[in-house]
């Protein structure tokens, strides 16, 4: 189908150039750019690739149909190729290598956790290929294994930053309706996310004067949470916070419900980022709080799509009945906008000019204003998310219930206490 479409487009382009013979007949064919998209399509991070290839088709299709993107007096055809990162460091490295060396793409996009953004970023630096990455907290992309910030020359990144995340979570706890007794329970597993979160949040919570109940780091796939839950009960814990994978969250919530333990607030990241996982969790997932790393509440409009975040979501959910949008939809849309904008400002697809233009990006997108700093990243807004099931449509809805850190992200509902029966 896509092949047919491209050949039809090529024919149309050819016909157009023949008809327009006079000044620059061959120019329409001259300019084209190929984007290599490294996306987790299979494996543990599959939820972060669900917008593919709908978004690509929808973004690039209309532009190509109109003859291409106007770049320096030419019409530039946009091609994209999709590479499966399999959600692993090795898989994303392989995918990016194939894109750069074998298929010689002009630009690389990579998205979705350090496992799929960092290897492509490093490869782009090595082979001097422009690269745009997103959906990985800025610090996880910026800092190398030695703990020092890397110097990027070819890769540009945009997503939320860790200091904002900490401020957001502390703010949410302070806003706990009905006050907080200061007793906070930890669910930080012994994996990279758990260890990093514990080291970030533990000192901050203590500084806020709260008393942590920390059962310690535990291995993913822990079969029995009863001892932890008894510790929480004994410490009269009112807020439980952590970063858990979906099976662990499911297992924990079941055992907490069985033990009759009900804190006033849950702030759990990772498992709560994507609607598919929440659906599997069922009613005990309702009212769990987490970071909101994108929802239609975000400010901004797409320059090339003309829609707001809500408009994009309506388009996607309208054309894919029964499916849910997920945040990478917006970040990929913004990545294309950033590229198109840089191409137009560069007036050329020349690599050096494109890089110079990318560095000067200051563009409104559906994920807010993207403006790269000297270290080539842009910190995007975030908010506090809370899940509920809409009583009419029976669909899962992510409300933005806390926006003190970025007031530009609209508040769509008031924060609720954890209610599960």
């Amino acid at each position: 189908m896509r092949k047919e479409l491209t050949s039809v487009l090529a024919l149309a382009a050819l016909a157009g150039s023949v008809a327009a013979t006079a000044p620059a007949p061959a120019e329409a064919q001259d300019c084209s750019i190929t984007v290599g998209r490294v996306v987790p399509l299979t494996g543990p991070l599959l939820d972060m690739g669900r917008e593919t290839p709908w978004l690509d088709e929808n973004k690039v299709g209309p532009i190509n149909k109109a003859g291409g993107l106007a770049v320096g007096g030419k019409k530039c055809k946009i091609n994209y190729k999709i590479y499966d990162s399999r959600g692993t460091m090795a898989g994303s490295g392989e995918a990016a290598t194939r894109a750069i060396l074998k298929d010689k793409v002009d630009v690389v996009f990579a998205q979705g956790t350090p496992d799929t953004t960092n290897a492509p970023s490093d490869l782009c630096e090595r082979y001097k290929v422009p690269c745009i990455t997103s959906n990985t907290p800025v610090e996880a992309w910026l800092f190398g294994p030695d703990g020092k910030p890397k110097t990027y020359k070819y890769t540009f990144h945009f997503f939320f930053g860790v200091p904002d995340l900490v401020a957001n979570h502390v703010g949410m706890i302070k806003a706990l309706p009905g006050g907080f007794n200061g007793s906070i329970g930890y669910l930080y597993p012994n994996d990279p996310d758990g260890v990093v979160f514990a080291s970030l949040f533990d000192p901050t919570f203590k500084k806020a004067g709260w008393k942590p109940v920390d059962p310690g780091r535990f291995k993913q796939g822990l079969p029995d949470f009863s001892a932890i839950i008894n510790k929480f009960k004994r410490g009269r814990v009112q807020v439980v916070t952590g970063v858990l994978a979906p099976p662990d969250l499911q297992n924990y919530l079941q055992q907490a419900a069985q033990a009759g333990f009900k804190p006033r607030m849950y702030i759990i990241d990772k498992a709560t980022g994507y609607p598919e996982a929440m659906k599997a969790l069922g009613e005990f997932g309702i009212d769990i709080l987490s970071v909101n790393f994108w929802s239609p509440a975000y400010p901004g409009k797409s320059k090339y799509g003309g829609y707001t975040g809500q408009g994009l979501v309506d388009l996607y959910e309208g054309q894919n009945a029964g499916k849910y949008y997920s945040p990478p939809l917006a970040y990929t849309d913004a990545s294309y906008d950033v590229l198109f904008d840089a191409m137009q400002r560069a007036g050329s697809t020349d690599r050096a000019k494109l890089l110079a233009a990318l560095a000067k990006t200051d563009l409104e997108t559906v994920v807010g204003q993207v403006k790269f700093n000297a270290q080539q990243f842009s910190v995007q807004p975030l908010g506090g998310a809370q899940w509920r099931v809409d009583s009419k449509t029976k669909r899962w809805v992510k409300d933005n219930v806390y926006n003190a850190v970025y007031p530009s992200v609209k508040k769509t509902a008031d924060m609720r206490l954890y209610q599960a029966k």
């Binding site: 299979t42 494996g43 543990p44 599959l46 939820d47 012994n190 059962p215 310690g216 780091r217 535990f218 291995k219 796939g221 822990l222 079969p223 029995d224 949470f225 009863s226 001892a227 932890i228 008894n230 009960k233 004994r234 979906p246 099976p247 499911q250 297992n251 919530l253 079941q254 055992q255 419900a257 069985q258 033990a259 009759g260 598919e276 996982a277 599997a280 969790l281 069922g282 005990f284």
Partner: protein, 307 residues
């Protein structure tokens, strides 16, 4: 009562109770493997994937007919029995020690081949499930997963795990009686004990092996549905359950069906108590230490008979 004393008692009681219940859950995962690995002396590395396959089968059934997950067993058990029977009859029998020797290859091939073949099968099943269902985390919805039998304010038994425990005990008794009292059961043990002599006694070993494998996979199917009711699962989760099953079989003892219940319970209690007193990170480690300990002190397992 003094609050510290109260919580000490709660911790111990909870360790024992939750441990025993966890043991029933482990036993149900392990029984199928105890039968193939323990009785038939064949390592089925796809055991865990069979569990996951059965769980997906139940999900599929429930998509079309909204019934109680327990009723899906009426379909899952015969289907999984068929899978196990066919697997043994048409694949594994062809690479057994005897058939390898018949083809003029060393017996070593016959010991290795099932391991390699079932390893391959494990990968094929996981990828087929990924292709068919994508990698969404699934769970078999049921009304019981969040409910519990409350004993006191701070002591409770998960209703599901209690049911699993009862089912595990029922399956164990049935299987024990089947192996000891029926002709087919005796034939299974006979072909496992001596695959050369059994046919001379009029036992159709290929069919008997297929029957045993069918039963093992059918029980794995029951385990899969139970597991799917209590936690989320994904196509690549098989090896997790395989590891649990191996642990239980090692502790309980090769060839002992009853051993899988005792092994499971010991493993469960060790894990919960270690988790209570040494922090949750000690929970799984303690289980592995128990396995190593049993291997060092009594390598045949607690309940195995010496041969």
């Amino acid at each position: 009562m003094n609050e510290d004393l109260y919580w000490t008692l709660v911790d111990i009681a909870n360790g024992l109770l939750s441990g025993v219940m966890l043991g029933g859950y482990y036993a149900i995962i392990a029984i199928g493997l105890a039968l193939t690995f323990g009785v038939m002396r064949m390592v089925n590395l796809a055991h865990g994937d069979m569990l996951v396959l059965a769980a997906y089968l139940a999900v599929l059934v429930l998509q079309f007919v909204p019934i109680s997950p327990f009723i899906t067993l009426a379909l899952v058990i015969p289907v999984m029995f068929g899978v196990g029977y066919a697997l043994q009859r048409f694949l594994l029998n062809a690479i057994s020690v005897q058939s390898m020797e018949r083809k003029g290859m060393s017996a070593g091939f016959g010991l290795m081949s099932p391991i390699l073949v079932t390893f391959g099968l494990s990968i094929v099943i996981a990828h087929a499930l990924l292709g068919g269902f994508a990698s969404d985390a699934r769970i078999i919805r049921n009304a019981l997963s969040y409910s519990a039998v409350r004993l006191t304010e701070d002591l409770n038994l998960s209703t599901l795990r209690l049911i699993f425990f009862v089912i595990a005990v029922a399956i164990l008794i049935a299987l024990h009686l089947f192996l000891k009292r029926t002709h087919a059961g005796r034939a299974i043990r006979a072909s496992a004990d001596d695959a050369e002599i059994a046919p001379l006694m009029g036992i159709a070993t290929p069919k008997i092996n297929a029957l045993a494998s069918g039963i093992a996979i059918a029980i794995a199917g029951v385990a899969g549905v139970m597991v799917g009711m209590s936690r989320t699962f994904q196509p690549f989760d098989g090896p997790v359950f395989l590891l649990v099953a191996f642990g239980v079989v090692i502790v309980g003892g090769l060839g002992s069906i009853v051993g899988s219940l005792v092994g499971g319970i010991l493993l469960g209690i060790t894990q919960v108590l270690a988790g209570t007193y040494f922090g949750p990170s000690a929970q799984l480690v303690a289980g592995y230490i128990l396995i190593l300990f049993v291997l060092a002190v009594r390598p045949q397992g607690l309940f195995a008979r010496r041969r």
